[in-house]
Symmetry: C4
Subunit: 121 residues, 4 copies
């Protein structure tokens, strides 16, 4: 039952522009792994520098499945482009979270990734 | 005896295309370090968004050796290209795991890396 | 109340040159998330290879806000360009810290990111 | 006294080629931060896939200083280029370790970085 029920990602930024074909569109991703034998109900809150947090954005990750979610696709409300944000992920089952960005503002893409920070529980 | 016996990597993606010479082929790697004085028997399970997990893929890392394994080279079954996946690594000896991707879909390569997430044991 | 009150980032380097428009200027960032319900008072100390540490640089992160700070913009004293440094971040409230660099010394930008190292408290 | 006395980095690879001016030479770095008030004596062992480990490579990090060491510059013996390796870092004082690579095999550079894995002590 590897994982935790709370995670944080202080970095967040959806570049406003992109180059290349659709799969190279700039994006900010949180990858969730639920290696347990029951569905995990996940709620994500997004924090900003100068306004109230938004969310929770809710998603269910089935048992023994991964979900790679793009902040670009969050709606109600949408995450603004070109603005610094951060996120906290909470789940009713242990999950593991990793943060990845593809930045294609310039002709060649750049990547970053890090494991999210696990809470104590 | 640095390390843990269980690790998770929520991010996984083998780009479908590459540019450049063979050593620049897009690849997804898990680097294992066995700094102990006995061989570690490692079993890896791969999780997807919309299908059952596959594996375990088994490998032995000798005492005081590292193995840099490419998911590209897993077979029986192969990991599909262009599909999101995640992995759990289990070992009978403490090991340390790091995840690295080289993405050469565009003319210049991009890199990401992070330490995998260690389980409690 | 996710987070810790002490963090370290051994890597630090502000490239001396950049390419592209202003938002692509090379920069070294520490992203702070304060997910608690009270302001966090943060003090950062910067360490070098061959001279005394400088700081503390102080910043307040309001409750339920993130701050993405660029070492480029620290003053009194400024962080020299092209010089290796490291940093320790201390806060009176739990925060979460992530380190990101955009390097645009060449025509296309490169990115790195990692969660900072959390202290025991 | 933030830090640990044992760290591991499973990933290691010094690209055989580079593009650009000297500061853009491909390199593999371990960044050490000694935020304590006494010198740290650090010993690094390098592990390979198919041969015995080498080292220890020894370095002293003064009190309240950082050292950004390039595996490229290790000698007696040199680390071979184009070969997978891993490393364990041990110190008599708490330090913090981060791993960074600049890969300039292609015309534009790529970067990766992650915090090293801290041992239990």
């Amino acid at each position: 039952m590897i994982g935790r029920t709370q995670w944080a990602i202080p970095e967040g930024f959806i570049p406003e522009t992109s180059h290349g074909p659709p799969e190279m569109e700039s994006h900010e991703t949180v990858c969730l792994l639920n290696a347990t034998d029951a569905a995990a109900h996940v709620a994500m809150t997004v924090y900003f520098e100068d306004r109230e947090p938004v969310g929770p954005y809710e998603v269910t990750v089935p048992a023994e499945r991964t979900s790679h979610l793009q902040f670009n696709e969050f709606d109600d409300p949408e995450i603004p482009r070109g603005v610094a944000f951060a996120s906290v992920i909470e789940s009713d089952r242990p999950v593991v979270c990793q943060h990845t960005r593809l930045d294609s503002r310039q002709a060649e893409n750049a990547l970053l990734s890090t494991m999210a920070y696990p809470g104590e529980r």
